[in-house]
Symmetry: C2
Subunit: 277 residues, 2 copies
């Protein structure tokens, strides 16, 4: 039952590190399998940070909110994650830093807890957000329609099965919708089911929403804030992301992740730089 | 031309601190004038953190994105802000910590820059968000209709002139709309004009949106991420905040701030705990 993503995000405590202590250091690696263009996907890197935090916080298994500032592009190779516990109670607040060769890739701060206990203790729900309306996965645009040169440029796309809403997949053929929205079904290529950890990664795997505005190119993320609200049900995840305010050379990008049971299981907001075109 | 908010958020470098250095420490204070119930308003505390960051980053005058995790309730009295510069280029990324008597109130991470230069360099705008539709300020519900016992419980309300949309002010008389949305005109009581710094505070001055869901009581903020997108024009600010996903004992709260020129000048998302009722 070993899955690729779990091996890719595995961390090992460095000498002197004890889980639950005030601070700890974990060795990790950033695999080129999650490369997209010149760097390793930011969502995957967030998953690595999340895996180190989970290892360090045995009493707090789930990310609840995690904000990452991306300071330099992650590269394939060894990495280290430092964790400092700011406060631990029913929830734990932590700072974390992902480095490679002494250079900081990500500086982060987050709060961990137990989402299963939270859902059991507070079953009341007031959900007014609505999931996007997409054709069934088999009627969406998937890997079999993705040009091989795109897959070669973005190996991360082969880690997942992403099936895009035809209504917003026009960017791939030079005909973006102009709405500033992208939606897709997403699951792991090897059948791994989603969990709270993998939601951190899912929140940043779609192409930049600027693709749908006719602005192709890399849109560097300054910061991303993830809220993980519930452990997801097995099956497809439904992702949608949009921007409503592109100005001053920056745009906000809101991503929502819905699970197969119809719950809004995670939300992210990032601030990114508009591609230079 | 001295205004109350500037005096309230004033910071002084502690001995050995030089602006622009890799780290610095600033003395500050949390005034009881911004108290609401048992603690000092989180938005005001964010303004104090922002003032210390501004003091420490002379080449980066504006907050661009700032995420705060609230670890304990701020009290009236002296405070200290520690700043660590993570990276400085066209943008500067910093960590910050607000403490009182050695206890951390806020752990934060943010990115600073120059919003005037950014707006001048990239005039293109794609704004699909729409401001809320409110009656004119004089037809909204203002301080003259606020019971004296509320003002005594929340002195912070006297720092501002807040004029609530009658459509969502029913919570004050026990008749919440149930929509999960609050909107209001806001300006400083002493006529101070808004600026990028004061937007940090504006993003967290409305009551919790749970008031409008019939859930009165304190809704502790776990974390708040602010995006400041543009220096605001003088005049009234228009604030609106909403939740779309209350579940597991938590809710996300999105706040938007519009300026008098019609720009969406700031956005915040927080994750808060549902009031215990």
């Amino acid at each position: 039952m070993s899955h690729v993503f779990d091996a890719q995000t595995a961390v090992t405590p460095l000498e002197g590190t004890a889980a639950g202590a005030a601070s700890g250091r974990y060795s990790a690696s950033l695999t080129d399998d999650w490369r997209v263009g010149g760097g390793v996907n930011g969502g995957f890197q967030l998953g690595v940070v999340g895996a180190a935090l989970r290892a360090h916080l045995p009493a707090h298994p789930d990310p609840v909110t995690l904000t990452a500032h991306y300071l330099s592009a992650g590269e394939g190779g060894p990495a280290e994650v430092e964790v400092d516990v700011e406060r631990a109670g029913r929830l734990a607040t932590v700072s974390a830093r992902l480095t490679q060769g002494g250079t900081t890739r990500i500086a982060a701060i987050g709060t961990y807890g137990d989402l299963a206990a939270a859902a059991a203790a507070a079953p009341a729900e007031r959900l007014t957000a609505e999931p996007p309306s997409l054709p069934a996965p088999e009627r969406c645009i998937g890997p079999e329609q993705t040009p091989p040169e795109v897959l070669a440029m973005a190996p991360m796309m082969s880690q997942l099965e992403m099936r895009f809403d035809p209504a917003c997949a026009g960017f791939a053929v030079g005909a973006p919708s102009g709405q500033g929205r992208l939606s897709a079904w997403v699951r792991f290529a090897d059948g791994r089911e989603p969990d709270a950890l993998s939601l951190l990664t899912a929140l940043d795997v779609l192409p930049p929403v600027t693709f749908d505005l006719g602005m192709p190119g890399w849109a560097p993320t300054l910061s991303l804030t993830a809220h993980v609200r519930r452990r997801p049900a097995p099956g497809w995840l439904l992702l949608t992301q949009a921007t409503r305010n592109l100005a001053g050379g920056m745009f906000e990008e809101d991503c929502e992740v819905w699970d197969s049971a119809g719950h809004l299981v995670a939300q992210a907001r990032q601030l990114a730089l508009v591609p230079r075109g």
